[in-house]
Symmetry: C2
Subunit: 291 residues, 2 copies
Amino acid sequence: VLSEFQKHIENKYPCLKNASILLAVSGGVDSVVLAHLFSQSNLNFAIAHCNFQLRGEESDKDEKLVKELANDSKTKVYVTRFDTKDYACKNKVSIQVAARELRYHWFEQIMRENDYQTLVTAHHADDDLETFLINLSRGTGIEGLTGIPNKTSTISRPLLAFSKAQILKYAESEKLIWREDESNSDIKYLRNKIRHDLIPTLKELHPTFLENFQNTLGNLKGSAFILNKNITELKEELFIEKEGIIHIPIIKLKKLNPLETYLYELFKEYGFTAWNDINDLLDGASGKEVH
Amino acid sequence: VLSEFQKHIENKYPCLKNASILLAVSGGVDSVVLAHLFSQSNLNFAIAHCNFQLRGEESDKDEKLVKELANDSKTKVYVTRFDTKDYACKNKVSIQVAARELRYHWFEQIMRENDYQTLVTAHHADDDLETFLINLSRGTGIEGLTGIPNKTSTISRPLLAFSKAQILKYAESEKLIWREDESNSDIKYLRNKIRHDLIPTLKELHPTFLENFQNTLGNLKGSAFILNKNITELKEELFIEKEGIIHIPIIKLKKLNPLETYLYELFKEYGFTAWNDINDLLDGASGKEVH
């Protein structure tokens, strides 16, 4: 895994080699392996750990493990504690959304204040498949099937090319110490069902299922990219901004085919969910409004 | 199901109401239900049945059932027998491919000779999901995830909006007689695994999994349609035919991004599989050829 990882960084993430990196480490096997791979590859990184205080003593043990791991490898470490339940309550969001918002907001702050150029997280190929299946179960479109981005302007996920099995094997062969996330055994029914019932069955379908799935994701990402480019060009043609208000010629809009897909793609960034209302608006009386 | 089916025909397949239809009936529950729904809806149809002679006496019993069903409902019936194994052997194709080629070729012939405007098959929502999962397990692109077409110029599949469970329930409530396809119990490992292990698990993930999946397919079809339109326009711009040879300016081709996806989409109709060769060709010496 180490040499494969180093080749992967060389080919796909060349900018990580000269960057100052912030690595998100929970203390689970994925991020512990990632920290080890980074350290073995002489990358320039610091560790960031969030204690969400959701599992009492267990959360504190995670924090302790990450601090020790950083000390042992002489890596700078940032640790913070959040009152996640309180934040979720006050902002009327789920615990999961609260944790994500708190976490990414704090990472951004550390990066800004200490000049880190990129955040690295330990998402791996099985996470991609999980996300695909969760979105599939709820109903989605192409963007919901393209998985977790390998790279955005500020986040890199070099472990997406590796499977959970590879990660575990590496951790064992290197005798690394990590902590099982206890919440794995009691988090949401859906994610557990996917992880323990569905994914093993899928992997039995084909000897290289996960690799084939990664190819599929690559193809879908390419298609989604072309589609987005197409929609951006169309927007430049159709959306005319005058004094802060966007004007759209309905006659041109109505000629688009398939209309439903185009409406979704053109207006999704505005967070509309009432597609039928927009559809109705096209035939509505002048002055009709949808908010 | 009957009233839902009639509404569905009204909305999505209005041309079936005045068409002369050829209905493919195997004798399994799906096509027996479809024939019953057609007959209850006073549609103008004849039945076509292929005996592939792959399961000896069982195949003959299927043929007999379909003939009786047609007689009972006073429907015209076409029956043929194929030596499927011989065809597969001679044409070096799998039994499955042989059966499909023989079947569609024969349907076309009957339609041409007897002025049927459209062929109707009994594919249902679970078939769509099976196809999606088979392609997913092998690795695919957006077109492999968009399922079986609801409608082409000559084939309609109005049962795609209905689940296997709905079809079975209707068959039982109407006391219809059908034959279990014995090959179901011993056909390919893959399809069985998907049907008996995977799909039930997927349906447990979400109370309306199959409906959500149908929405996903609708969205993907819309995206694939836009993508194809885009590629067709690009081809008109890039592919210049002179004396039966297509010329493509490599400089323009190489500027496309993401290149791999564009190459795949532009050249897939030529049946290339050696994408890396095409990719290399772009940087090759003048006169280099790929076949």
